[in-house]
């Protein structure tokens, strides 16, 4: 079979149209701080049977002819795209981070898989009609698949949310990332086992053989494979051209791994993902190589793949409100509850646990990939596929605001949340000891601690190193036996000497008390406050204010 000259032209035009539309709509959604994937799938919906196919069937048939060699070529590209997507997804998995947070990550990911899986499995098995099961289909496999689709999380979406919420570097951010990585790993293995169960392979392996070979392959990659790959990358980087040869090496390994698991009958994605993990673990893999691969895949193959998703089905005729509601309910209840319970059992606080649950609820591209494979294998019909795509998109959009709500509203480590009018006063007292003493008095009443105890700690710190910063700011501070930090502010418009670095008298004196044995909170608040007072002009504007309410309001606005 060979493409004719005309078919080559149409094939190239259709790819250009897909790439162009995906990029345009992806960019628009990015501008509105939404995942580009939504725009890319929407581009597929517009170009596919849903819109173009309805409005102009001729153009649709011309660009994307069914039952032709062009279709086969396009299928090849989407297969490569999905393999590459899983390869880069695996590259992002960092086993050392997973291992560092193993207790919490295991608890969150395992319970975060078990609960939504059981919920999805139970509903699909007991009420298959709700999710459009066709009578001829295997109810058990269908239910297992629905359970997995509900349980999977999307690492890239989660990482992006953590980045936007500025908690990527924090302890909670690191735990969520580690849990998402583990969730992906376990989720893909379960999914592959299900594919093995339905006997998808054509190479004559029994289910137990497929299972043994697959687990051996995973074990080999995680035990010896990653060590060998690490060594090879270091040699290639030194001996051959960089970064071209390393990228080439990664793609070769990715395709070979994918081919092997496809041969085993557990789908190419598992091989690509596992090889990605083994490569990503290398200490020699440079950030630049990762970035180039990401650019190459997320700007070319990912848009093509997601456009093709939007074109797979008619999203209007196959839109089944009942199925969408059931899937959304399962995803939200199962995932948020599962991961939150896991986080709680892992020893995290209540609001942090809920935030973890909200963050992990996004199924994103991974949920869509599972949906596509299930559709290809005839495990689900187009209505369920559409429902899964909507579920994946909806959870990707909703998880950020939900997480933000759980974290920010109750976050007592942020300056703005600690700032209270009743702890702010104006004073004409001269001498830093007197001002500190008054601030400590306010703190002592609020914290119900002896004034002398607090004062001793604050003054001892002050004697070691004066706390005058610059731009009229002084930051006396201490770590004491308290649960949450305390901030009190004294304004002295004449200024007091705190030995500030710029030699100016200090007019805004902020007392910061933080829990002992938690340096991180103290440093976070100290640097946050110091950053707010970087501009002298801004501080002078603050000093012109006449009451505590105005001052608090303006301080909260400062970046």
């Amino acid at each position: 079979m060979q493409l004719s000259n005309d078919q080559v032209i149409i094939f190239l035009i259709s790819i250009s149209v897909m790439l162009f539309s995906a990029k345009m709509l992806g960019e628009i959604f990015t501008k509105f701080k939404q995942p580009a994937i939504i725009g890319e799938i929407l581009a597929g919906v517009i170009l596919g049977p849903t819109i173009l196919g309805m409005l102009s069937p001729g153009t649709f048939e011309f660009l994307f002819p069914k039952n032709s060699e062009i279709n086969v070529a396009m299928d090849g590209i989407t297969n490569i795209a999905v393999v590459l997507l899983l390869l880069v997804s695996g590259l992002e998995v960092d086993l050392s981070v997973v291992f560092r947070h193993r207790k919490k990550a295991l608890s969150i990911s395992i319970i975060g898989i078990i609960i939504p899986f059981l919920l999805g499995f139970g509903i699909a098995y007991l009420f298959p009609g709700l999710l459009g099961l066709i009578e001829s289909q295997d109810r058990l496999v269908f239910a297992l698949f629905i359970g997995t689709a509900i349980a999977i999380s999307s690492l890239p979406v989660i990482a992006k949310i953590l980045m936007d919420l500025k908690i990527f570097k924090s302890e909670i951010g690191s735990i969520i990332i580690a849990s998402a990585m583990l969730n992906d790993l376990i989720g893909w293995i379960i999914f592959s086992v299900i594919l093995g169960m339905i006997g998808a392979n054509t190479n004559g392996f029994s289910f137990s053989e497929t299972l043994i070979y697959t687990l051996s392959f995973i074990a080999f990659l995680l035990i010896a494979g990653r060590k060998i790959i690490n060594k090879l990358i270091s040699i290639i980087q030194v001996k051959l051209t960089f970064p071209g040869s390393v990228i080439n090496f990664i793609l070769i390994l990715g395709f070979l791994g994918a081919a092997f698991t496809e041969y085993l009958g557990v789908h190419a994605i598992l091989g690509a993902f596992m090889v990605g993990i083994a490569i990503g673990d290398s200490i020699h893999l440079k950030e630049r190589t990762r970035e180039i691969l990401h650019q190459f895949i997320t700007n070319i193959f990912a848009p093509l793949f997601f456009v093709s998703i939007g074109m797979k089905a008619n999203f209007i005729t196959n839109f089944n409100v009942g199925i969408v509601i059931v899937l959304l309910a399962l995803a939200f209840i199962g995932k948020i509850a599962g991961c939150s319970i896991g986080a709680r059992l892992g020893g995290m606080k209540k609001n942090e646990s809920l935030a973890v649950g909200a963050g992990m609820s996004s199924s994103g591209a991974m949920g869509i990939i599972i949906g596509l494979i299930a559709l290809q294998f005839g495990l689900i019909n187009e209505e369920v596929f559409v429902g899964l795509v909507i579920m994946a998109l909806f959870t990707s959009i909703s998880s950020a605001p939900l997480m933000s709500y759980f974290l920010k509203e109750r976050d007592k480590t942020k300056f703005r949340n600690l700032l209270q009018e009743r702890f702010v006063f104006f004073t004409n007292e001269s001498g830093k000891e007197k001002i500190i003493s008054r601030l400590v008095e306010v703190a002592s009443k609020e914290l119900k601690l002896e004034k002398e105890v607090i004062l001793r700690e604050v003054m001892s710190r002050e004697k070691n190193l004066p706390t005058g910063i610059a731009n009229y700011l002084a930051l006396p501070h201490a770590k004491i036996k308290i649960k949450d930090p305390f901030i009190g502010i004294a304004i002295n418009k004449r200024g007091v000497n705190f030995d500030a670095a710029d030699g100016l008298p200090c007019k805004i004196i902020i007392l910061l008390l933080t829990p002992e044995n938690n340096n991180e909170i103290q440093l976070q608040l100290l640097s946050e406050i110091a950053a707010k007072f970087r501009s002298k002009e801004q501080v002078e504007k603050l000093l012109a204010l006449l009451n505590a309410r105005e001052l608090c309001a303006e301080l909260k606005k400062l970046e």
């Binding site: 997804s89 992002e92 981070v97 990527f168 200490i283 970035e291 997320t298 700007n299 990912a302 110091a530």
Partner: protein, 276 residues
């Protein structure tokens, strides 16, 4: 600072050099010195040990000799604990052979399990000289405060020329998070911005410790935590790389899925000071 130094000694070619290094440290810290030898005690082994001590120029009457039997690593750890050693000195290869690393060598077991501080020397010298370049890996924990302060006092005593605090951090998933809409330059500048923030935070942290008498340099590196700091110390020819001892017992799986300090245990970047 260290009131009793222990030396884990065997009849290896580096034995004499290790005794000389320990003697220098004993004088530096004005501490007591105990030699721990694991093996059968008989006239032959006694003679061999005394010969090593004498050749190193140590006064046998001015040190304690502890004999032990059994598994060398476990016996050294137990003897060190019983003798109240607060700095255990031991020699180690820069890198063990793979199987030995995974299934345990004496030095690696001491690094992982000795409950007090330890100093692992990768190439002890017959003519020991002071350590001049100190590199310390740091986070913001209270345990790390202790490490920095101990290394700082050590560096002061040695009249060190360089005292560098390394803060390494990594954000797995970062490339995926910003991948599709950012260029490599934007990614680099984002990492630079984060390095700057970490550096500022570390400055505040160090300020709180009120360390005086040596200039402190702070460096932030981005990459796999534990590997990047160790690699930085190695490429900058550190004399001492100080780390905070692991909080929990390091097990086989920690070696297998390496993280943090295990990278330094696998391949010593320089002499390794483990503070506990």
């Amino acid at each position: 600072m260290f009131s009793k130094i222990g030396l884990a000694i065997s009849f290896s070619p580096t034995g004499k050099a290790l005794v000389k290094e320990s003697l220098r440290l004993q004088q530096l810290f004005n501490s007591r010195l105990a030699l721990i030898h694991i093996g059968e005690r008989n006239s032959e082994s006694e003679e061999l040990l005394f010969k090593t001590i004498d050749e190193a120029g140590a006064d046998r009457n001015n040190l304690e000799i502890i004999w032990g039997e059994g598994d060398p690593a476990t016996a050294i750890i137990n003897a060190g604990k019983e003798a109240g050693i607060d700095l255990l000195v031991a020699g180690a290869l820069e890198k063990e052979k793979m199987l030995k690393f995974y299934f345990g060598s004496v030095a690696r077991k001491i690094m992982r399990e000795f409950p007090a501080s330890s100093l692992i020397l990768k190439s002890p010298s017959l003519e020991p000289i002071p350590f001049k370049k100190f590199f310390i890996t740091a986070d913001y924990s209270s345990r790390c405060e202790k490490t920095i302060c101990a290394a700082f006092q050590f560096a002061l005593k040695e009249n060190a020329e360089e005292f560098t605090i390394i803060r390494d951090f990594y954000m797995p998933g970062l490339t995926a998070a910003i991948g599709e809409n950012n260029t490599y330059d934007e990614l680099s500048s984002l990492i630079d911005q984060m390095k700057y923030e970490e550096e500022e935070k570390m400055k505040l942290f160090i300020n709180e410790l009120n360390l005086k008498g040596l200039e402190i340099k702070i460096v932030c590196v981005y990459g796999k935590e534990g590997w990047e700091d160790s690699n930085y110390a190695r490429t900058n020819s550190a004399d001492i790389f100080a780390v905070t001892g692991p909080e929990h017992k390091m097990r086989f799986l920690d070696r297998f899925f390496q993280h943090d300090i295990e990278y330094s245990f696998e391949k010593l970047p320089s002499n390794l000071l483990i503070v506990r």
